[in-house]
């Protein structure tokens, strides 16, 4: 049947609309509150449901106690956020936010029907879940959430910078309400986790982090992609049972954010001897420390990473360039020579050596030798790979020519003065 036929058929036997009578509304209340443990909260915009759960601060989620998070110092938070402004960030005055939505595509037609927020209150960690049991309850829930958020100065999310928060801001705008998210701080743990674990883990999704870092296994969870259809079914049949796993899922996400933050903090506190940190992570740690100007720690981490498969190349490169920048030329030279020997980005290393000899040491013989070797290697690579090294080769040729020019000039000059070459010579292959 095509569209116009369908429309005609529909209009000719249009079903009588079942009116939402009071009885069914009462029943809905009862079932949602019984099954989900929700209470109805009145607001100037009508009622919405709220589910409240309290966990003692000593509650173990995965391998961590929740209240450990309160001990994380500003120094460490700065590193997690990779931003020194976060030094005054305080987890006890922050709220953890996670939403469940009607679709991942984004855009103004996507609703966050369950908004979970977690925060510390006294010795406890509380999770409030604002549930929008139908579209017309949204304004009420957003209103209550806004009121709650007034009490906090920061927010913590997992991928909230690009997903949850813009989506909620859009919802506030659509309901013509002021956005409550204009906060001092927004710590997005996904960005932090990506910085630390992207080299080691194939995925830095929350579930991957849970199983790889936090020794967590969920029981009775629902896969994220099924969530929208479960909610749509609930809108039609008002059966709250299938929603239970979604509420569980949302709570787990929030608890895992706490544990993840603690785990990252441990790593930063004791980078070389932390259980949560291994192998490729050292390179990532080195990068964060370097970017934050903590050079000693950075060097330590890179040094460890030099022996880790997968990040060796990067670590050698990064560390040698760091030395170069710091003017620690001998250390840098050592690394470059090691790179040439072990065939780790040899052309790069040789070029760096050539630069060093030419500009720093003004040892044109060795510079020429390094550049020559680089050129040969590049040619070899070119025949092996068979493409696109032309520019690199051209540049190397130019460099070599320039060095040789200087070499000649120097030779003419040095005929008058006796020249003693440096003792240690470069051994390359």
């Amino acid at each position: 049947m095509n569209l116009s036929e369908k429309l005609k058929t529909f209009l000719s036997n249009r079903p009588e609309k079942s009116s939402n009578n009071k009885n069914s509304r009462l029943e809905l209340h009862k079932s949602v509150s019984d099954v989900l443990g929700a209470i109805a909260v009145p607001t100037p915009f009508g009622e919405h449901f709220l589910v409240e759960n309290t966990y003692p601060g000593s509650y173990m989620h995965g391998n961590m106690r929740l209240n450990l998070i309160c001990n994380i110092s500003g120094e460490i938070i700065k590193l997690i956020a990779k931003n020194s402004e976060y030094e005054s960030f305080d987890f006890t005055r922050a709220v953890f936010i996670d939403t469940e939505t009607t679709g991942l595509a984004g855009g103004s037609g996507t609703l966050a029907f369950l908004i979970g927020v977690g925060f510390f209150k006294g010795n406890d960690f509380k999770i409030l879940q604002y549930f929008i049991s139908d579209y017309d309850k949204e304004a009420a829930a957003l209103y209550s959430l806004g009121k709650l958020l007034e009490e906090f100065e920061s927010i913590v999310t997992f991928n909230g910078k690009s997903y949850d928060i813009p989506l909620l801001e859009a919802r506030y705008m659509l309901s013509r309400m002021e956005s409550p998210f204009k906060k001092n701080f927004h710590l997005d743990l996904l960005a932090a986790a990506r910085r630390l674990y992207k080299e080691r883990l194939e995925s830095v999704s929350l579930s991957s982090l849970e199983s790889n870092l936090l020794s967590l296994k969920r029981d009775g969870d629902i896969p994220g992609f099924e969530i929208p259809s479960v909610y749509f079914r609930f809108l039609k049949d008002k059966n709250p049972y299938p929603l239970k796993p979604i509420f569980y899922h949302n709570q787990m996400d929030i608890l895992s954010m706490v544990t993840l933050a603690i785990s990252m903090a441990c790593t930063f506190e004791n980078p070389l001897y932390s259980a949560a940190c291994e192998n490729q992570d050292y390179y990532c740690l080195g990068r964060v420390f370097e970017d934050m100007g903590m050079i000693e720690d950075s060097i330590k981490c890179y040094e460890k990473a030099l022996y880790v498969q997968g990040v060796r190349e990067k670590s050698y490169t990064q560390l040698s360039l760091l030395y170069k920048r710091l003017g620690m030329w001998q250390e840098a030279e050592k690394l470059w020579i090691a790179m040439v020997k072990s065939n780790i980005r040899p052309v790069f290393a040789l070029v760096e050596l050539a630069k060093y000899y030419e500009h720093k040491l003004k040892d044109y013989d060795r510079a020429a030798k390094a550049a020559q070797e680089a050129l040969e290697r590049a040619y070899k690579k070119n025949t092996l790979v068979g493409f696109a090294l032309k520019e690199e080769i051209l540049e190397l040729k130019k460099r070599l020519e320039r060095i040789e020019g200087k070499q000649k000039k120097y030779e003419t000059a040095s005929r008058k003065d006796i020249f003693y070459p440096r003792q240690e010579s470069l051994h390359i292959n």
Binding site: N2, L3, S4, E5, K6, L7, F10, L11, R14, P15, T102, G103, L104, A105, G106, G107, S108, G109, L111, D134, Y135, D136, P166, E169, A170, M173, L174, P228, S229, F232, L235, K236
Partner: protein
């Protein structure tokens, strides 16, 4: 020789002059000027003066004045009449005094928007004002998008991007929508048919969003010459507009020459190739150093013509570099260079597809040659308008092909010069299109009870969508209730989203084109020869479920022609009237087409080389149709004679109708029924070839006997003996004697 002398030669030399069917001279016209208005910012005035503009043309001044009084305007002016100032002046003038104000510029193509942006930027740079203009389209880098949303004063985009990229994310564009003062829509005559009907709905959505953010922008539309610019812009934008169609730009004398290549085979109605004729005429100009643009209808024809011209110009030193091709598929940089070369005169000749027909700035040339009627009066004027200096003579020559439409035009110059040009027809309320956009609109903002869309009441559609489980009605509002992102599933350039992709598997697998669903059984059945950009491909496999056709390059001397059995069933009659002795109807029909078999037809000789079956399910389509029935005893013809005559008449009508509808010839189709189950009489049906229809049938219904009269004229004036492709179609198709029978039928039903 200068241009005048070359034209004189044309008149004298018999080999040219005998083929000229019409020579129209449009006399020189002085410009009408106005002073800059007092309210125009001094910064803007001095920027204009720096560019050598000391006065405005009357239509530019009028546009400014009307927009200043908060009126929507629709400006209709020919090519190169300073049209862009009609919108740039009011917009910039407003932005200078109000840095919070915002404007959206919509262009139908990317190339055009680039050209307009660079012109706009020049003006802004001259003023040294902080007015940020950004292009927002599929090529805009993600990191630039945030800045555009926040800071772009003028956002230049296209309807497709507005549809999928901007409106569904309107909350991110709050600043733009809250402060939106102007919406500029250039080239509105492009927004017709399906594309126009979609765009009208996109604009309905845009107005809904503006309303939400409390803005009510003014629409500034520009159009080429069409019959109904005011009506089109009103249907498109949903708002009435002041029509500004008095062009104040000066123009030199203009010669428009219709040229019909000589007949080489009278029986088959075959004429000399218009490509070769166009080449000879172009050479005449180019050898005399007259700057010339030659339009060809396909990319392939552009390349062929270019090769011919370069070959023949070899002897002229340096000439080859001065003759260029221009078409889609050339790199943007190449195109910019050619445009510049044309402006500064370094390039003498260019061969182009209609890519250069739209408002890209290439300056004004001396001569334009149009190879084959471009399909509409508006396009022809645009292409002719590429030649035309402000104060010297110019010439445009239309070289006709053998097709019926071309032949009609060159033999009836009065239609071209006197009769009203085509109508830009759109039907924003086409059910399929409307429902698609109601979905998108509901996604963007829930509908409230009783809310209209455009001016349409849509309660029934909303209830229907609720029943389908896509919307949820609660608390007096209709909310989007699906995971999908509706705008992504809807293409503005076709009615249904179901297209077949054609994949070339000669080497690897490469998508070379798309075929809409309804044409698929005819064009890409297995063993069909599919011709794309002049290259033949044979269809090896048609995956009907997956909507993919796998083709391989071949070089054969035949093409394939599918036989399609078309059944038409009347579902509903909207209007009905008697015109002369015919009964005319407008209504809804169901068209069922079943491809049964195909013929292999040899090129040139049209010999039949064999048959093959086609096994594909029938295609069904609901659409709008116009049909007319004639009395059974018309002209005292036998049933067989009536059939043959009606077939011929139907062919002519379908072939010339696009002239009045401003549509592509494939947008409408005709069917003949000798004894229609509905009318019980011999009947011709002409229907919109897209689900739901876009208004072509309705227009034909309103034309009354005009179409029949035009058909009669075509048949009477065709030189062929018994039917040819230029009139009723080849006699193999319509039967012997069809030409005479068709005339008898017309004579029988028309009283004059």
């Amino acid at each position: 020789m200068n241009l005048e002398q070359v034209l004189d030669q044309f008149k004298i030399q018999e080999r040219f002059s005998k083929n000229i069917t019409h020579w129209e001279i449009i006399p020189q016209k002085p410009g009408e000027y106005e002073d800059f208005p007092e309210y125009l910012s001094p910064k803007l005035v001095s920027a204009l003066k720096k560019k050598g503009i000391y006065k405005l043309y009357s239509h530019q001044r009028r546009a400014l004045d009307e927009v200043m009084s908060n009126h929507n305007i629709t400006v209709v002016t020919p090519t190169a009449s300073g049209k862009s100032l009609c919108y740039n002046l009011p917009v910039l003038n407003a932005l200078i005094s109000d840095k919070d104000a915002r404007a959206i510029y919509l262009f139908p193509t990317k190339a055009l928007s680039q050209d307009q942006v660079s012109e706009l930027m020049e003006l802004i740079d001259e003023m040294d004002e902080d007015i940020k203009t950004f292009t927002y389209d599929g090529d805009t880098p993600v990191n630039a998008r945030v800045a555009i949303r926040k800071d772009g004063h003028i956002v230049v985009t296209n309807p497709d991007m507005l549809h999928t990229g901007i409106l569904p994310h309107h909350t991110k564009w709050m600043k733009l929508f809250t402060n939106l003062k102007y919406i500029v829509i250039d080239e509105i005559h492009i927004y017709r048919g399906i594309f126009g009907s979609h765009t009208a709905n996109v604009l309905r959505r845009l107005r809904r969003i503006c309303n939400f953010y409390g803005s009510d922008p003014i629409f500034i539309c520009c159009s080429a010459t069409i019959a109904n610019p005011g009506e089109l812009s009103q249907k498109l934008t949903g708002k009435p507009a002041v029509l500004i169609d008095q062009n104040g730009a000066p123009a030199g004398e203009k010669n428009i020459i219709f040229y019909n290549p000589p007949v080489v085979n009278r029986q088959l109605g075959i004429r000399r190739s218009c490509l070769l004729e166009a080449k000879n005429i172009a050479l005449n100009f180019l050898k005399n150093h007259i700057q010339t643009i030659t339009f060809a209808r396909s990319r392939l024809a552009v390349e062929v013509l270019l090769t011919y011209l370069q070959e023949d110009m070899k002897k002229e030193p340096g000439a080859i570099d001065r003759i260029k091709g221009y078409r889609g598929g050339y790199l943007p940089r190449e195109r910019r260079e050619i445009e510049k070369g044309l402006r500064d005169g370094k390039i003498l000749g260019v061969v182009s597809t209609n890519a250069l027909e739209l408002g890209i700035d290439i300056g004004n040339l001396d001569a334009s040659i149009i190879t084959g009627y471009p399909g509409s009066i508006a396009s022809t004027w645009q292409q002719a308008g590429r030649a035309g200096r402000r104060n010297s003579v110019s010439a445009s020559i239309l070289v006709a092909s053998s097709s019926p439409l071309d032949q009609f035009i060159v033999n009836h110059p009065q239609y071209f010069f006197k009769a009203s040009p085509e109508h830009g027809l759109i039907n924003p309320n086409n059910l399929y299109i409307l429902v698609s956009h109601i979905k998108c609109a509901a996604f963007e903002l829930p509908f409230s009870d009783g809310e209209t869309f455009g001016d349409e009441r849509i309660d029934e559609i909303l209830a229907f969508l609720e029943d389908e489980g896509i919307l949820r009605h609660v608390g007096g509002r209709w909310h989007w209730m699906a995971e999908s992102f509706p705008a992504e599933e809807i293409s503005l350039r076709s009615a249904s989203t179901e297209n077949f992709v054609v994949i070339d598997i000669t080497e690897g697998a490469k998508v070379i084109g798309e075929v809409d669903r309804s044409s698929a059984p005819m064009m890409i059945h297995e063993e069909a020869i599919y011709i794309h950009a002049g290259q033949q491909y044979q269809v090896e496999k048609l995956d009907y479920e997956e909507k993919k056709a796998y083709v391989r390059k071949v070089d054969v001397d035949y093409y394939t022609d599918a036989n399609v059995a078309v059944e038409i069933k009347v579902l509903d009659v909207f209007r009905e009237k008697t015109v002369e002795s015919c009964q005319n109807y407008l209504g809804e029909v169901m068209v069922t087409s079943l491809a049964t078999m195909f013929k292999k037809v040899k090129f040139f000789t049209h010999e039949n080389l064999g048959f093959g079956p086609i096994h594909l399910p029938p295609e069904e389509m609901h659409t709008t149709a116009y049909w007319l029935s004639i009395p059974e005893n018309t002209g005292n013809l036998s049933i067989e004679e009536i059939k043959s005559g009606l077939l011929g008449l139907c062919n002519v009508m379908v072939n010339i109708a696009p002239l009045y509808l401003m549509c592509d010839p494939k947008d409408i189709r005709g069917v003949v029924q000798i004894r229609s189950p509905f009318t019980q009489k011999p009947t011709i049906f002409i229907y919109d070839n897209c689900p739901g229809g876009v208004g072509f049938a309705e227009k034909l219904y309103d034309m009354e006997e005009q179409l029949l009269k035009a058909a009669r004229q075509v048949i009477l004036e065709c030189d062929c003996e018994d039917g040819c492709p230029s009139c009723i179609g080849p006699y193999e198709e319509v039967g012997r004697g069809s030409k005479a029978f068709a005339l008898k039928i017309i004579k029988g039903v028309l009283s004059d």
